[in-house]
């Protein structure tokens, strides 16, 4: 097998689709927003991505059925006022090692470029570390001034000289930019330590304005609750791994040697 495998489930032709990345991250804000959008707008899954760069594990799902670590691509055709096409990337994990993340994002971008992707949105959370207001802000950054203008028109607060974007949400924009595909990152303000439906609603509303589409967010809190339950156990496991793996890495020169 190759380190990364993309299985195409359905052949589809898209018209300059916009690519939306929403892999798990801070407060699961991006993931929650995209999962909800996929459900509400009835997007169709057309490809699955498996990779050796994911954490070496499986999840135990509903009724004891095992689920692989996976990234999934969905499409939507002719939606909204402007009859646009979308490709949405969701999943239950990101690449684990730095080189692995680069490899994986690069291969995924190469794949969606084959569908004529013309623009990128990456969705994430911005951890404040403290309780946020009832109406969490949405922050933005972009690869070019034109996109910054669009963000401003949607009343998204621009972050300036302000740290960075780590992981897939950063890499897709950085890799895209090098190939002339521009894009923006939307970051929902969130305390960062729970599944944040309010932050997800906030970025969904902004994304809907930017894409000129409508997404009903009524059932978002319900979905957040389900995700929460699923994640509590997953996070316990992850914490166990962290505790056990702490420092269990490379050997040094002070061994018998």
């Amino acid at each position: 097998m190759n380190p990364t495998e993309i299985n195409i489930l359905e052949e589809v032709e898209l018209d300059n689709p916009i690519f939306i990345e929403a892999l798990p991250g801070i407060g699961h804000v991006g993931k929650l927003a995209a999962d909800h959008m996929i459900d509400e707008l009835e997007a169709t899954k057309f490809a699955e991505i498996y990779s050796y760069y994911y954490p070496p594990q499986v999840f135990i799902g509903e009724d004891g059925i095992i689920k692989n670590m996976i990234n999934e691509l969905y499409y939507l055709k002719d939606i909204g006022e402007d009859n646009i096409d979308l490709i949405i990337l969701v999943g239950n994990t990101q690449g684990l090692s730095p080189e692995g993340q680069f490899e994986l994002c690069s291969e995924t971008l190469e794949f969606v470029k084959g569908y004529g992707v013309s623009k990128i949105f990456t969705l994430g959370g911005m951890a404040t570390g403290q309780q946020t207001s009832e109406n969490p802000k949405v922050y933005g950054a972009a690869t070019c001034e034109e996109n910054i203008e669009s963000l401003k028109e949607a009343e998204i607060e621009i972050r300036s000289n302000d740290g960075g974007i780590v992981g897939a949400s950063g890499l897709f924009l950085g890799l895209g930019m090098r190939q002339g595909i521009h894009g923006s990152c939307l970051m929902g303000e969130t305390p960062g330590f729970f599944i944040d439906a309010e932050a997800a609603r906030a970025i969904l509303e902004k994304l809907a304005i930017l894409l000129n589409i409508e997404v009903n967010t009524d059932k978002l809190e319900e979905r957040a609750e389900e995700t929460r339950e699923m994640l509590i156990k997953a996070q316990q496991m992850e914490q166990d791994i962290l505790n056990k793996a702490a420092g269990n890495d490379r050997d040094d020169l002070r061994y018998i040697g």
Copy 2:
């Protein structure tokens, strides 16, 4: 040399064998169960697996004889009521890095697929962190509903939406599933901080029901005692490595640069 080498010791033909993975893990439950089964049923070793993905070390065994880190494949033919064939994977280590574990499990699975493997069981422990009852429970998960039904018939408790399975026991099921080879994981409830013969007995009994075979578990406690002695020293060494290697990893940007 290749990163992973599989040396075939004996050419053997098997009839749709069931593949059982039992590499070292929590409480050495799976390993202990499989080692015992290999002894009791007089399984034959037919292949050895060496890999650069193992920890970079050797063990000092009986009478000062050095042993390589190794995974080993045993077979059993025509056993039990149903005259089934088995391939059993045991060893003294697993892959160390995430990518390494994926590579190694994938190559091993590819190899046993060459023998027509039709089904997978992976054996492990489930750490409770506290003293377990005299009759430890066996938990299960599986890649499909049919296998979940079999586990239920054997009165194995199904874990649902319940974290994950990390390492070889998870990866073999996940990788197998992607290729249409289904399977189950049996996890013996164990405190997790000692070699647990009772948990091993519990999963062996369930495995025997599932495979419709008989395995005498009388000498299991004796074997556990031997394993314990061997591991106490190995774990002291491992702890030393952990202590010394803590943080000894990658350099950052704050060096002389």
Copy 3:
């Protein structure tokens, strides 16, 4: 894509150029010195280096515009009393993993060798951990006695049997040396925990003597201030990553397995 990509922006012919490395490091001494020199002498950027070995992230720059992790090559022709040519390597990051750093430095060196590089200077800081004097010292080391003599003539203090040089500033000299390209490392004495304009001025003055060129250092403090502001946020992010990533590395053998 390849793990490392070097994009040539301008074809240029150089005459036995001297290669100066000044990637981010202790106190950002080397980077600050080289950035200033590029500005003052109006060097021209002629190549950009992208790599999977960088940290998997992007920075948010001025007005919310996203910047890739990058290394950049500038050239200067016919400068100073001796009409020398220079290639200067600057950037916002270094390779992250040990193997990655070797790969990246080796590919970059291979590339600049194509321009006939005859000599190497690497610029860095030497952390003292405490407040330094108003006129920080410049320390030096070199790959051959001839270069040591030049350093002494410029009244640079030679470090002897004195630890090492970690990262790009060490690797370029070590890799160059193996191929007959000799060089020196200049290290400005710095407390190490802030952007140190004085240490940068000190190494720039010594470098100017060694290259027989003139560089006005009047605006160096101003530049240091800008860098400081930019880095405060970047470092907060980096610290967050460190805190979160602590120990989140490899799995060990004590999992369910």
Copy 4:
């Protein structure tokens, strides 16, 4: 360049040489013993090994001259009562990552096999963590019973079921064993936290018996003193790296993302 490069400095024919590994390790016992033996018996360097698997740094040596991380191969012809040939591996570092150590040891072994290597000795220290007696013990382990017998004849204490041997001293024996080249490891008892000339003398005396050669150990303490001075600074640097690099590794899924 290749990740690992072996530069041959002198073509030499050897007669079934014995391969001795003595890279830096606990108490620098093996390295000190081998460096001394090379000096006393006037061994000739015939090959140098460079690798991307070493730590990404250089050392500053005598008079500010930079030294690469390196492994070196020396030979001795027709020495001792039995007119044997030796290949001795020394250096200032070992591979850093687990996979890197396997790769490097494997390539080095492949190289010395080309000279007809018939037997391996690996030299190291065994850390006791406390002050050892005036006459430190030498412990041994081997890949076969025949070698264990030789060790016993030389009054070396056999370690049995006793942890393991991590790093090059373990891997050369493990890799050699898989190819039919047998060998032994000699471990000098040492507190482990200083350069231990007494432990080095102890293993040199045992090695001399095993090889039936004579090595004058009078100047060993003097050499230990030099090594001590050199290492104090190197270790300070290493410690700095450890402190800074602690946890600076991989990003996880909790980033903006």
